[in-house]
């Protein structure tokens, strides 16, 4: 829910007290120092491709669970969801439920089987029994498209968010923040690889969870740990009454809105298990049992976190001014958690309040860094391993050459996303995250599931489902009200809109699955069927799976 981070006007959050800002900047620098130290340490351990792409496959289930949580919970979901709850009450809570239930798809159907049968990228798993070139090209295209969409939304959000937390309105300074965030992520990924990125994500997850636990505790203390009292005071304080606790303030105002919400819910629940930056995290553990443990940990952490955002969101509604002219409303909810932290810490002029505000700002900053690093690594790995090594060079490259390309690709992708994010600052591109989920559910998930469970599936089916799902989702969004033809669109002054829904999932997900069937039946490919035995045995038993690196 990156959502709101974009269209914000920066607010005079910290401008009154330079002491606050110094504290915030100091904590930001501490985050940068710690993550750079981790990167330096990790860079000395990276020797082989398995080290660079998969952290030597030596992370434990709990470590990887923390890293998954760190990879998955973006600043937007940290600040955005609690902000949406503060503004829209119950409806703000709905996003997080889809985000969490989605992990059961990953746990039951994908994580372990993928860990056993894949190697470094999503394409590895598909290419197992298919013709390398077409399948890797398709999977790499979809990986890079999904990751760049997600990355752009995060980078633009980062500029706005950091500006907001530091009380900066100037566009040039915000562009400077985007360049800084981009430069840091390039350094993490180029030098630290998966090992460095994973530890950055673990540190972020620990910071995020501890910060949130503290604020949640302080909020609940104010309401005697009574949920009913918290809800009642939130509803009363906002002046919206009962409606604040009921469905309908944000989603599904009319029939089109209701179908749109259903479409969004489908993409959220099916998208997670097809997000490439999540999938490659399963390769960082020694075996499928550890992959299972890591998803269980992730479910526990992510679920607990979203439950706490409930207290933060309703707490903000009950304690802060959330009226139409308030700072919370003007930031589209993003400052709800930071301001709540200040309030429960003792108020705007207290030491406790200043410290908590700065702490939450630093957590948000660490969150941005960890998420963008994960996305950059994913696209760089896919570019180097799938496109360069296996498609262009047809496997005839040394590991050294491939890793060199991966590092250059990380720098290149980072540079491109900086260059795209700066001009996009004034556009509303928040829809890109929802689109990334829709593409993951429509293009990647069908191919992954068919490959694992349908013997007859073949190269043609894989390319049809990936390109078919990808193109359907992107085209529908291009002609939807989020790109043109509405006041909140990316191009509000143009109008080529004809598709009524903001979320394409309800059409594009079935389309992706259907394309997979049609493509498969149109082609005969005995090799894919023959090699299914190997894939199946390996996926279910782990026989012959890639093991942990031995150092």
């Amino acid at each position: 829910m990156t959502t709101q981070v974009n269209a914000l006007i920066a607010l005079p959050l910290a401008d009154a007290e330079p002491g606050n800002r110094n504290l915030t900047v100091g904590l930001f620098l501490a985050v940068v120092a710690v993550t750079l130290y981790i990167t330096w340490w990790a860079s000395r351990q990276n020797k082989t491709a398995a080290d660079y792409y998969a952290g030597g496959r030596s992370f434990s289930g709990s470590q990887n669970g923390l890293a998954i949580a760190g990879d998955y919970m973006s600043a937007a979901s940290f600040l955005g969801i609690s902000g949406q709850i503060a503004l829209y009450g119950y409806d703000g809570f709905l996003y997080s439920i889809g985000f969490l239930v989605a992990w059961l798809v990953a746990l039951l159907l994908v994580a372990e089987l993928l860990r056993n049968s894949g190697r470094f990228t999503m394409a590895d798993q598909l290419a197992f029994r298919m013709r390398q070139k077409p399948v890797r090209t398709a999977a790499a295209t979809s990986t890079i498209v999904v990751s760049i969409f997600y990355l752009l939304a995060q980078m633009v959000g980062a500029g706005a968010l950091v500006g907001l937390l530091l009380g900066v309105t100037d566009t040039t300074i915000k562009a400077g923040v985007i360049v800084l965030v981009g430069a840091l992520m390039i350094i993490y990924v180029t030098f630290g690889g998966m090992k460095g990125t994973t530890w950055v994500q673990i540190v972020k997850a620990v910071l995020l969870m501890s910060g949130t636990v503290v604020i949640t505790f302080l909020v609940l203390l104010k309401f005697d740990f009574n949920l009913s009292k918290l809800l009642g005071e939130a509803a009363a304080h906002t002046g919206k009454g009962e409606a604040f606790l009921q469905p309908g303030l944000l989603y599904g105002k009319d029939l089109v809105g209701q179908i749109d919400f259903l479409s969004l819910a489908l993409a959220l629940v099916l998208g997670t298990a097809g997000l490439p930056h999540i999938l490659i995290r399963f390769y960082t553990v020694p075996d499928s049992k550890a992959a299972r443990r890591s998803v269980q940990w992730a479910i526990g952490l992510i679920g607990t976190f979203y439950l706490m955002t409930l207290a933060l969101g309703f707490g903000a509604a009950a304690l802060l001014d959330t009226g139409p002219d308030s700072e919370v409303a003007k930031s589209k909810g993003n400052v709800a958690s930071p301001l709540l932290a200040e309030s429960v810490g003792g108020g705007a002029d207290s030491i406790g309040g200043s410290i908590l505000l700065a702490l939450i700002a630093a957590v948000a900053f660490a969150t941005i860094l960890a998420v963008v690093a994960g996305l950059t690594l994913t696209s760089a790995s896919s570019f180097a391993h799938d496109l360069y090594a296996n498609v262009f060079a047809k496997g005839r490259v040394t590991e050294r050459q491939e890793l060199r390309v991966a590092r250059f690709a990380a720098a290149g992708i980072g540079a491109v996303s900086i260059a795209l994010a700066i001009p996009a600052q004034n556009l509303n591109i928040a829809f890109l995250v929802a689109l990334a989920f829709a593409v993951a559910a429509s293009a990647n998930l069908p191919a992954l599931l068919y490959n694992l469970f349908w013997k007859r599936f073949n190269t043609s089916g894989a390319t049809w489902s990936i390109y078919g799902g990808l193109v359907t989702a992107v085209v529908l969004v291009f002609f939807s009200p989020v790109v043109s033809g509405s006041a909140t669109a990316m191009f509000p002054d143009a109008d080529w809109q004809w598709f009524p829904l903001a979320n394409p999932g309800i059409i594009s997900i079935p389309a992706g699955f259907l394309f997979g069937v049609v493509g498969t039946l149109l082609s005969k490919d005995p090799d894919s069927i023959e090699r299914y035995t190997e894939l199946e045995v390996r996926a279910f038993t782990g026989a012959g799976a890639e093991g942990a690196a031995k150092h």
Binding site: Y90, F93, Q246, P247, F261, L262, R293, G303, G542, A543
Partner: protein, 113 residues
């Protein structure tokens, strides 16, 4: 750099494992858990989404104090997710892992032959 051609020895080993009764049992046990539970949690989640859209009066019914059906239904999605994740882990540890370990050992023996 995925191996384009798998050595014959490996193919034979994979085929040998595929023929063992335990492999069929492993697949059957996996499906016995995963199919019904996937249908359950998807149906349960979609029911929640549908109720948010089209059963708002029901969702707005107060249950305890200010806590209404919608909030309880939402929270129950969290607990059902935690529960299914825990149940699957327990099932996999007891019913799937021992079979997979045995088959894996057979694969290693076959490959050495």
């Amino acid at each position: 750099m995925h191996d384009e051609v798998v050595p014959d020895r490996n193919i034979r080993a994979y085929e040998a494992v595929r023929e063992v009764d335990d492999f069929a049992l492993l697949r059957k046990r996996y499906k016995n858990f995963v199919v019904p539970w996937t249908i359950t949690f998807m149906a349960w989640y979609l029911l929640y989404v549908v109720c948010n859209n089209w059963a708002r009066d029901f969702m707005s019914t107060k249950v305890i104090g200010n806590i209404n059906v919608a909030v309880i239904f939402g929270l129950s999605q969290f607990f059902s997710t935690f529960l299914i994740a825990w149940l699957y882990g327990r099932y996999a540890n007891r019913k799937l892992d021992p079979l997979a370990a045995g088959l894996n050992a057979k694969f290693k023996r076959e490959r050495r032959r």
